[in-house]
Amino acid sequence: MLLEGKNALITGCARGIGHALMTAFAREGANVWAFARKESASFMEDCQALSQRHGVWVRPVYTELTNEAARKAAFAQVLADKQPLDILVNNAGIMGEDRLFQMTSEAEMRSIFDVNFFALLEVTRFATRLMARRSRGAVVNIASVAGLDGDSRIDYSASKAAVIAATQKLAREYAGQGIRVNALAPGYTDTDLVSGLSQKVRQETLARILLGRPADPMEIAQVAAFLASDRASYVTGQTWRVDGGIL
């Protein structure tokens, strides 16, 4: 198994790519702190089922990542487990409806950056401090092709471009401490996040994809698992497109 014996913190696990990440990582033998925003019985059941099926532990941790106090309480839960942290996957993100720049308020832009960028940095600050103690670790930031191509709403695209730039800076800063930092840029993926897209935008997007279909979230998660694993030990500071071929 790709991640046997590793401990991973994954944010945004309740649904979509995050849920697939949690599932793929458990399947590959990793224990998971599964961060989610809202407590739910079904999520708890999912975590328990994964734990039993794969012989790992998958612990739900509920927190609002943009709230400093809530975030620190979540980190305290991780610390209380007294387990080393090997992997961080920064997945939590929001997008909002597709709209023009002139119709996007400053408040909306700030709220998207709060989740997609600033919260990601704070989780990374916490995780890399733990990883640095053992001089090893891997961080995978879930960015987006929008951060490379600028083809989504302006605040979402810019926040993901910021994640990609931060990935490069963090990779430089932490290489000496044995920590790899990479980003993954999914294209059109079949999740709730893109449910706000109009039919016209969906059709236009699909027409640009060589494989002619959206990604299944598990197809994104599998690449993230590889990047987080020791098999990617010579990969850092990179952004990998997983987009079905948008050329």
């Binding site: 980190f75 610390l79 600050r125 916490f126 401090r129 640095a132 103690r133 000496g176 401490q177």
Partner: protein, 78 residues
């Protein structure tokens, strides 16, 4: 091992200096205590005393003596 020994060991290991040189160390004045060495030192101290330092304390950690003062905030007496 006493807290003082753990404290000195953390500095010596993180900044790659002999233990007897540790008490005179000041950030930026020792070749190995640069920004990378600083974060290695923080990691060593956090691991040695099982604490998580606040960002302001990481910035303020500028000398061997100042570090003792900062650790007191985390109930670590050197």
């Amino acid at each position: 091992m006493s807290n003082l020994n753990k404290y000195v060991d953390a500095f010596a290991a993180a900044l790659e200096v002999a233990p007897d040189q540790v008490p005179s160390l000041v950030y930026g004045e020792s070749p190995s205590w640069d920004s990378v060495g600083h974060m290695t030192l923080v990691a060593r101290l956090e691991d040695a005393f099982d604490i998580m330092m606040e960002m302001d304390d990481i910035i303020d950690l500028s000398s061997f003596e100042k570090g003792k003062e900062i650790l007191r905030k985390y109930d670590v007496d050197i």
